[in-house]
Structures are given as structure tokens and as C-alpha cells.
Amino acid sequence: MLEFITKPWPWYVAGPLIGLTVPALLLIGNKSFGISSSLRHMCAACIPAKIPFFQYDWKKEVWNLFFVFGVLVGGIIAAQLLANPEPIVIHPDLAADMAKYNITDTSHIVPSDLFSWPALATPRGIIMMVVGGFMVGFGTRYAGGCTSGHAIMGISTLQWPSLVATCCFMIGGFIMTHLILPYILAL
């Protein structure tokens, strides 16, 4: 049993568990699953700056901040207590392509050559962390949701605008991975 827990969980275990978050949040408090709005609540709480978009009672949405704090704590528990002793197995073609860009450390959840404090001093590290993060924050709010709010909650409730948004997420991802990222990694 312990071996099953420490090994990486397959998609058919993880996916349904994530899907169950939808009814869990609805049943315990009539809450709609969506993570990216936590970023808006933090803006509303800390730096509203009289901007209309941040003029609302964020305290009524504080459950969402508790939820994302839980996600962070869950990350600590999984990494400290349930860690997989084996290195992460990645596709050999991906490993070979990354090696071309001197990204050789594939043992962590994020490549330390791109996402680490020392990498912040490199041009590609700045683009990956700062520009990438900015686009995630700007894009999710512009779209009105992210993978959880649109792809999972939105499509689950048969909202066709969420299906449009999800298709655009995927199109953007394919464009970046195949057409732009090779240039960023080569910096």
C-alpha cells in the first residue's frame, strides 16, 4: 500500500480525484471550483489601488485563499512524506531535446536550469519565471478562469464559452512549445 502511495499516481487515479473536487466544493459550501481567482483576491486584498476590478468584498471569497493555501501545504506533505524515491521518468525525446539546451537536470518537478534562484540571473530564467508568470496571471483573468475554472468546472457545467477558452489554452500552449520556446531556451 505504501509503495502504491509513494509511486507516481496514474492518470486514472488522479483525474477522477481532481474531478471530485467539483462536487466536494459544491456540497460543503456551494462553491464553484476555480483557482486563478485567488490571484484577483490577493490584488483586491493587498493592492486594490482604487481600480474598479478590485473593488469588491474579497473577504466573502476568502474560502478560495484558504483553498490555495491548502494546495501549498498539500505540496509540502506530498514532497516531505510521500515522496517518490525514484527519479521522474520523462520521455527520451524530451530529454534529448532539453539536453541540446543544456537542460540536463530532469530529476525535479521543475528544471533547475530554468526555475531556480540562480536561474533568475540568466535571460531565459527571467523570461521563464517573470514573463511566463505574468502571462499566466494576465491571461487567466482576461479569460475569466484557468484550467480548473474553465476546463474542469466550466465544461462540467456545459458552459460553451469555457470550451472555447479551453481550446484557446491548448492552442496557445502548442504555439509556445513548438514555435517560440525553442528560441527562449536557446538564449
Binding site: A49, V136, R141, M153, I155, I180
Partner: protein, 170 residues
């Protein structure tokens, strides 16, 4: 907060902030103490553990998804949607109420161009960071502390969107 929408030339495009929608305000919870939110943290913890254990927070898994080298992420998202859809169907069909006995409400989303422009922009960012907002928190928890920079930048991105929202096509 019901007047909020009328103050802006652009209507509500963010259906995740439900307290702005008068129909959805959950009266009994508004007066509830802060500690009543601990149950959401517990669900978040379970969610975060699944994220890390299924390697959904791995930058490499996201790359494999967009390079069509692995079915893993498609399986995760696809089965999550199926389970979510069946759950919502059951809740609606049998008019199941919350544990506190309140009627469960669903907000219909209306289409606006932001779902296209913003969606594309998030997609571009997702393939760079290898993380949507949820995994950002889990990555930090799992020890990738430099991702704090990515998270702060995402908060800044959200702020800049809010600041220039009126000038953007919706």
C-alpha cells in the same frame, strides 16, 4: 456589491467571483466565522497532494502534453471533466443541497472575446511556466521556492489586467 456591474462599461466577465452576483450570495456563510473556511483548506491539501503525486506539477509533464509525447495529462484532465460532469448532472437531477441545506447554484458564463485573447495568452504562459495557477502553489510547497517569483509575477499580471481592463477588447 450588486451595483458593481453597472459601474463598469464592461460587464462582468469573471464568473468565478460569485459574491458579486447577488443571486449566488450564500447568506448563512457570510456571517460565519473565519474558522469555517478550514474545510476548504483541507480539500486544498488533498488536491495539492494529488497534484504532486500524479506529477501534474511537473514542468516536463506539461511539455510532454504539448509535444504529444504522453497521454498522462490528457487522461488527467479528461477524466476529471468526466467525473465533474457526472457529479454536476447528479446534483442537478436530484436537486441535492449543500451540507448546510442550501440550494446549490450554478452561474452561466457568457461569451466575450477575452476568453479567446486571454485564453491564448494563458496558453502561451502555461507552456512556459509548466504550471497553471493551482500547480504554482503546489510547486512552491513541494520545494521549488523560486516559483514564488512566478507566482508574484502572476499576481502582477492579474493586477495589470485589472488596471487596463477597460481598454482591452472584450
Amino acid at each position: 456589491m450588486a451595483q458593481h456591474n453597472q459601474q463598469q462599461p464592461i460587464g462582468n466577465t469573471d464568473f468565478e467571483v460569485r459574491s458579486q452576483n447577488a443571486v449566488c450570495v450564500n447568506k448563512s456563510e457570510l456571517d460565519a466565522p473565519l474558522s469555517s473556511n478550514i474545510k476548504y483548506a483541507v480539500i486544498g491539501i488533498l488536491f495539492g497532494i494529488v497534484f504532486v503525486k500524479a506529477e501534474i506539477v511537473s514542468w516536463f509533464r506539461i511539455q510532454e502534453m504539448f509535444r504529444l509525447e504522453s497521454f498522462h495529462m490528457y487522461g488527467v484532465i479528461g477524466s476529471a471533466i468526466v467525473v465533474g460532469m457526472i457529479s454536476v448532472f447528479i446534483i442537478k437531477k436530484f436537486k441535492i443541497k449543500t451540507l448546510a441545506g442550501e440550494t446549490i447554484s450554478f452561474t452561466d458564463k457568457t461569451f466575450n472575446k477575452g476568453q479567446i485573447y486571454g485564453g491564448l495568452m494563458f496558453g502561451l504562459g502555461w507552456a512556459i511556466t509548466g504550471a497553471c495557477p493551482g500547480p504554482l502553489y503546489a510547486q512552491i510547497g513541494a520545494g521549488a521556492t523560486a516559483v514564488i517569483v512566478t507566482l508574484l509575477s502572476a499576481i502582477a499580471g492579474t493586477w495589470v489586467y485589472g488596471r487596463f481592463r477597460e481598454k482591452l477588447p472584450h
